[in-house]
Symmetry: C2
Subunit: 215 residues, 2 copies
């Protein structure tokens, strides 16, 4: 059932517990117990809790971001010299995360990542550095798809978009609460479609009048 390799079992167990209780609140003891491994194994395989936390995140974040870029490559290729569709760029940005939830072992990673934002640390800062390439490429793509936005306006709207995404995964229980149990994340296609529809409309909205757009 679970992989034989202790190192992988530790990562799986840590990920599961991080989702449930947060990174800080999860002890090495609970991880090694859950992984059916020895307390000392974490330090044997990783050297410290912090390095292990990094490993938990990098394990899925790296392929996830590669997926996003590959997907964006395809979208840009198909568009050629023509206009770039916002919905397509959004699909490249959001799709891989939703797709990830079809893989049983990666399933709870989007939830974990959604929750990470609140536990910001020196630790978190290191993780967000992995987004540099994705950030640069998607800013370019969005600017091309949304010629009515300048960089600061786009930055605000990407921020709202990322918030909506992070919250969708990290706070699914609140969705259930709002909808009186009628909405859950289990319909992944529907959720993705809804998030794209919502944020495409938000991104396309005209910029409201104001004085200074740089703050």
């Amino acid at each position: 059932m679970s992989p034989a390799d202790t190192r992988e079992r530790l990562l799986d167990a840590a990920q599961r517990l991080f989702v449930q209780n947060g990174v800080r609140a999860t002890s090495l003891r609970s991880i090694t117990t859950e992984a059916d491994a020895n307390l000392a194994s974490v330090n044997y395989y990783f050297g410290s809790k912090e390095i292990m936390v990094q490993a938990v995140f990098s394990r899925w974040l790296e392929p996830l971001n590669k997926d996003r870029l590959k997907w964006l490559d395809r979208v840009e290729e198909e568009a050629g010299d023509g206009p770039l569709e916002v919905e397509a760029v959004l699909g490249a940005f959001l799709g891989p995360t939703f797709h990830m939830m079809r893989d049983e072992r990666a399933r709870d990673f989007p939830c974990l990542f959604g929750r990470l934002h609140a536990e910001s640390d020196e630790l978190t800062a290191a993780i967000f550095e992995q987004f540099h390439d994705v950030q640069v490429r998607f800013i370019q793509a969005f600017l091309r798809a949304l010629p009515h936005l300048n960089l600061p306006e786009l930055a605000w709207r990407m921020h709202f978009l990322i918030g909506a995404m992070a919250y969708t995964f990290g706070a699914a229980d609140i969705l259930k609460f709002i909808s009186k149990g009628q909405c859950t994340l289990s319909d992944l296609e529907g959720a993705l479609k809804r998030l794209i529809a919502f944020s495409a409309a938000g991104l396309k909205a005209p910029v409201p009048n104001q004085g200074d757009t740089t703050q």
Copy 2:
């Protein structure tokens, strides 16, 4: 400078440290040191750390939610029997939070609350129960302002909206990162206007075709 009352000083210090380091990671020792009070004072005034955490949140959340309802009363009154404007309902929902940031003592509460979502607990569940009235009233108002949405579709969109809001306050450093330092939360009016424009467009967007809308 700081209020003379120890109890208040403890709440202020706790709030400040919770924003910086998270609730779980903040020790009673650091709180009492920051508040210039004795280690035993937390247990003297509150009985336990958990009760104090509740107090930190209730202190601002209660007036905040009352503000939202009063603001919504006014919006509904002005609309009379006519149509209800989405932007006005959004103003009632979001405005009080932004307004709160003008009060020096409450300033970092929206950030704290934005970050809370990721530290969900039995503790958090109790806090979210304070939203019952606000939730009921705003769902009604949004349904009236957005007749093309049914409850499940609205619930999804409110979820996206709350995510964007929580992230705006809780992850302002990421906004700075995306915009290469050009965007900050310091222009509150601008931020509120942008968030309303973005989410009004998202809420108004037509519902994309799909089979089942209940999941």
